[in-house]
């Protein structure tokens, strides 16, 4: 009883293109990996792991961010959710690769964090006090718990979505929408603790209560910018050229604007409270980031991560223009790299601004490998959910 006039499966032409993208991504990834591996010996393991950490946090955002959008669209409904659903599902299916990519952080734990060093901890009252939370076995146990939760959610939504394609939505759609609410709750907590564990504990004495929220919104922003770029690339060919219209893009563009604003709001809130308090245990974090050349990176973020995209995205016409919106999305993705670098690296380089060549090759390696795996997952299923409820209305929503 398939009444669909449009065939959503991937056309042979698109499949050829996707394979081509995949090969390019894989080549970039492998070359990046080779150079980074050489860099491991040239620049030393400590530099390697430091460059690896912030690059990896970006990859996590590309994987876990879409998981949040996937669950959110089951909670809220809406046409925007159906057009990005398959891309979100494919992104969550990259979790096994992302888990493997976590291994260098486990191996380099002594190079990255001060708290696994028994001598340092013994000499410091505060670190001794935090040791029941900040110790290697508990750190790894928590990481395993986050991954287990994320992988369970990814498995759940992919499994039932496939079943919906085959058998219709009557039986299975509630399974997904009922899991979405609790799933989002788990996502919020896990991302908060993940941010504290993997990023904040680089500076174990510094704390910020909004840090987890900042990571939640950063992940959603990264994911939305990536999804918009992908949707625009897919929109040139069937089947998405039949589905995707400027109305869907307008909705996604609004989300992008909202996330840019929330990012600025959280970032500034954190800064304002610490700046106003000016307490000796809090302010050094910002002193490192607002001196020795790092302040220009911060300024670049104010302009490039907030002011410019904010002013441009206010325009309604721009949000409906495929190419322009994709350009801004790509620009925001670049700014996400800068933001993560500014957030993490000054903790290792208090004295002066600096960049290692590994800070370029490792992101290329990780993003290349991730993209290749993602594209492999994307082409496994039709680009639209075949039997989703309200599918016809979604298509109708796009028509003039």
């Amino acid at each position: 009883m398939m009444a669909n006039a449009v065939d959503y499966s991937i056309t042979p032409q698109l499949r050829t293109d996707l394979r081509q993208w995949r090969i390019r991504a894989l080549v970039a990834g492998v070359l990046g990996t080779a150079v980074s591996a050489a860099g491991f010996f040239a620049a030393g393991p400590t530099q390697f792991y430091r460059s690896y950490l912030w690059s990896y946090v970006f990859i996590i955002a590309l994987t876990i961010g879409p998981l949040a959008w996937l669950m959110l669209q089951y909670v809220t409904g809406g046409a925007w959710g159906l057009v990005i659903r398959r891309a979100c599902e494919a992104a969550t299916r990259t979790l096994p690769l992302v888990l493997v990519m976590f291994l260098p952080i486990v191996i380099g734990i002594n190079n990255l964090y001060p708290w696994p060093h028994a001598k340092l901890v013994a000499a410091d009252e505060l670190l001794r006090h935090k040791a029941p939370y900040l110790n290697v076995p508990f750190f790894l146990g928590r990481a395993a718990f986050y991954f287990a939760g994320w992988m369970f959610l990814a498995w759940w939504f992919n499994r039932w979505s496939l079943k919906e394609d085959l058998e219709g939505h009557d039986a299975v759609h509630t399974k997904m929408s009922r899991m979405a609410g609790p799933g989002l709750l788990f996502w919020g907590f896990s991302v908060t603790f993940m941010a504290v564990d993997w990023v904040l504990s680089v500076d174990p004495k510094w704390f910020s209560t909004i840090f987890g929220m900042l990571f939640m919104v950063s992940q959603c922003l990264t994911a939305m910018a990536f999804l918009i770029t992908l949707m625009v690339l897919l929109s040139y060919q069937r089947p998405m050229s039949e589905v995707l219209t400027h109305r869907h893009l307008h909705d996604l563009g609004k989300f992008l604007l909202a996330m840019v604003m929330v990012w600025a709001y959280f970032s500034f809130s954190q800064f304002l409270i610490i700046w106003a308090g000016n307490l000796p245990e809090e302010i050094p974090w910002y002193l490192a980031r607002l001196n020795h050349g790092w302040q220009y990176v911060g300024l670049l973020l104010v302009v490039g991560h907030f002011a410019l995209p904010f002013a441009l995205l206010l325009s309604r016409d721009l949000k409906r223009n495929f190419k322009l919106l994709a350009s801004i999305a790509i620009f925001i993705l670049l700014m996400r790299f800068v933001d993560l670098y500014w957030l993490i690296t000054p903790s290792f380089r208090h004295d002066s601004f600096g960049v290692s060549f590994l800070d370029f090759t490792i992101p290329v390696a990780l993003v290349g490998l991730w993209l290749a795996y993602f594209l492999m997952q994307l082409e496994k299923r039709p680009l639209m959910p075949l039997n989703a409820p309200h599918l016809e209305e979604v298509l109708e929503h796009g028509r003039d």
């Binding site: 500034f268 800064f271 304002l272 700046w275 106003a276 000016n278 206010l314 309604r316 003039d400």
Partner: protein
Amino acid sequence: MNKPIYGVMAEFDNPSALVNAARAAREKGYRELDAYSPFPIEELSDALHLHKNKLPLLVLVGGIVGGTIGYALQYFVTVMYYPINVGGRPLHSWPAYIIITFEMTILFAALTAVFGLLGLCGLPMPYHPTFNVPRFAQASRNRFFLCIESTDPLFDHQKTCEFLETLDPREVSEVAH
């Protein structure tokens, strides 16, 4: 005998008939038209080309004015009139100003949106010629109306009525001033 009228109006049963009629009228060349419906129809704005209006610009200007006033207010108070040393910070401590600047931006933008909307729509408007059509009360219940106004350059009482009749309406009526 030709007393000037406001326009002619066609009544439709359902929203899609109204959207089609609006589209047809635009295609025919009519520009001074308005549609009336009990609920918002997104396609209708597209059919009537109603998306461009001055409101976004007004709101933007309102927001910028509000933000400037908010910032200036704090600057004059804390730097010029009551300079107080707070924890050794500079008098012109801009981070502390941002919240109020932001709130004033939102406040002015929101107020401009509300009053700008009322102003651009010409509200409050206790009288409108369309009220002269007895069945127009149905527009807030279950009927859909398209009115071609007499100010349209193509407007011709006879021909416009005939054109509206071709759109398969329930009824075409004249709207007196």
